[in-house]
Amino acid sequence: MPAATENLIERCREIVEDLQMGEVRRWKEQNPGAAAIGYFPVYAPMELIHASGFLPVGLNGAGDRLDLQYADARFGSFICSIVKTTLEMGLTGYLDPLDGLLFSGICDSARNLAFVFQRNFPQKYVDFLHLPQNPSSSASAGFLKAEYLRLAAQLEKLGGRKLADDALRASIAAYNENRALLGDLYALRASNPHQVRTSDLYLLQRAGNFLPVETHNEWLSRALADIADRQAKPRDSVRIVIEGSFCEQPPLDLIRLVEDAGCYVLDDDFLLGRRWFTEDVPAGDDPLGALAESYLDRSVYSSVRHDFRHRRHKLLVEKARRLGADAVLFLIAKFCEPAYFDYVLFKRELEAAQIPHLLLEFEEKAFTFDRLRIEVETFVESLLFD
């Protein structure tokens, strides 16, 4: 791979691992008066924040880079890591560059976290979006549009621009491009997994959490061109689809470990909110309505978005079949209620379809992986050795 791309990925790693959010601070210096709005996974309408003149910042916990000192006392046992590390970041000042925080109802822990933030950070704008869970109702689109308008009004109060259709259309276009580039990278990896290391793709993608979308688009197109030209020799590997990491993210070393143990990742649900829509959002006459409708009718399946018209377990099997995967790897954060519940139906469906799977539990704050290594290697061995 050309050194330029190596450097770019290295740069991404620095950005991702920088707890101080240097990139966000820099953006704020360059855009005086504009706010940075953090959003907790999984999805947030970044277009809307962008159109208000603000920087949407994706929060994905602090990994093992922060010792839990205060947050454990607030959230106690049986709660996933990301909830605690995010609160710890807040309590120890790492979220100071952010002027606001957005949450949505992905699970009960994250929802309560939103309000714990509200109490502990009264000087910050902390909001909770209700994203509809009943897309089949005729009233959902109207409701979601109203919810977005409520958000827009709040952002305006924070000093944002009044939401204008033109600005929103431009933002939608920028994010459509972002998703298209990511989609190309994902498609490239699915067809030529030896050419794209998943850990690299992950870093490239996650750096976007802290960058203006325009910059990110530029980086992604550079990387895409480079990677497409790359020459690499395919290895004897197991082709897998990763499921279950839509919110708390597995440590980078764990992603590498999975690859090193002999897996080609054809698809994953890391940072799923960045690739939320399956098609471009149509930026027509009613861009806000289009954004809402895309959420309801043209988005990926997810354990935190319920749509009883399309069952998630069927969709997972379809995906694995479509991509020609040998197996599904569930990477689930410890105590992640939605992922674990979905696993039951996924498992049933995969077994019926005779697609092997492995479940690994991780914590973003873990830094030794002996046991996980054994598990992945055994799994690979069980598929490779006859």
Partner: protein, 278 residues
């Protein structure tokens, strides 16, 4: 002279103290025995030893309060109190400005938030797992072949503490051994062990408000390495008195006096007047 006793039957060690109001409240005797297998016997032995040291007859002791995990096994006791109440009370007596107590014993650790009168405001305890307790330290000492009272001072000599990843008391053995095999110095390994426990303890303790003065009680308070490690993690100083190991028993004895219906003036007896350790 009126006499009262507090007996703290811990999982590892049993502590007993005799107090009396002989021209002011005094600690007349105290004793420390290993709890061992026979909890009831240990309680008795501790109590008798304390009586003997105080030079009083057990029959003359008017009221005995038992505490600690074996408190219900004390046949001669008049009543029981939880060790939480007793440590708070004892610590408050030793340091009247106590607001937080960190008690680390053989099998559990707890943090107690204490009010101005020595009353418990809030507390937390670890559960179900011996990771990060006195046992953890005792095991580490054993693996290294160093006396329990030496590991603390030795750990202070560390310059590059190792990172201990295991919290399990049993498995820490192999961590320690592999560090030694890698040529790490015992003091660095020990410092790592102490720090690991300190982090765990403080993250537990943060569930209650931690306010000055912070008093450490329980057997592990005798380990200067642990005290320093806790101070380092907490970023503030801990109060540790020479009677800290006896805080639970002292608290129990104070409750005993109260239960006797005796009016007493808290604060007359001070650690300085204490009888020598038994």
């Amino acid at each position: 002279m009126r006499l009262a006793a507090g007996v703290d039957v811990g999982s590892t060690q049993t502590k007993a103290v005799i107090v009396g109001d002989n021209g002011g409240l005094r600690m007349l005797g105290r004793a420390l025995v290993d709890t061992g297998a026979n909890v009831q016997r240990a309680a008795e032995n501790g109590f008798l030893a304390a009586c003997q040291q105080a030079g009083v007859s057990p029959q003359d002791v008017g009221y005995v309060v038992g505490t600690g995990y074996g408190r219900y096994k004390i046949t001669f006791g008049n009543s029981q109190m939880t060790e939480i109440s007793c440590h708070a009370r004892g610590a408050h007596h030793l340091f009247p400005s106590t607001r937080t107590v960190i008690d680390m014993g053989g099998q559990d650790s707890k943090a107690i938030s204490v009010g101005a009168e020595g009353e418990v405001l809030d507390f937390v305890m670890n559960d179900k797992c011996a990771a990060g307790t006195g046992r953890f330290l005792a095991n580490a000492a054993e693996v290294l072949g160093i006396g329990l009272d030496e590991i603390g001072p030795l750990s202070l000599a560390a310059r590059h503490p190792v990172k201990i990843t295991t919290v399990c008391t049993v498995f820490v053995e192999s961590d320690i051994l592999s560090y030694l095999a890698q040529g790490k110095k015992p003091e660095d390994v020990l410092a790592g062990v102490h720090l690991a426990i300190a982090r765990r303890t403080i993250s537990l303790a943060r569930r209650v408000p931690i306010e000055q003065a912070i008093v450490m009680t329980g057997g592990v308070s005798r380990n200067v390495g642990m005290v320093r490690a806790l101070e380092q993690v907490l970023g503030t100083k801990l109060e540790v008195g020479s009677d800290a190991h006896f805080a639970g028993a002292i608290g129990a004895a104070l409750f005993a006096i109260e239960k006797m219906g005796e009016s007493f003036e808290s604060g007359i007896w001070r650690p300085a007047d204490a009888a020598p350790a038994g």
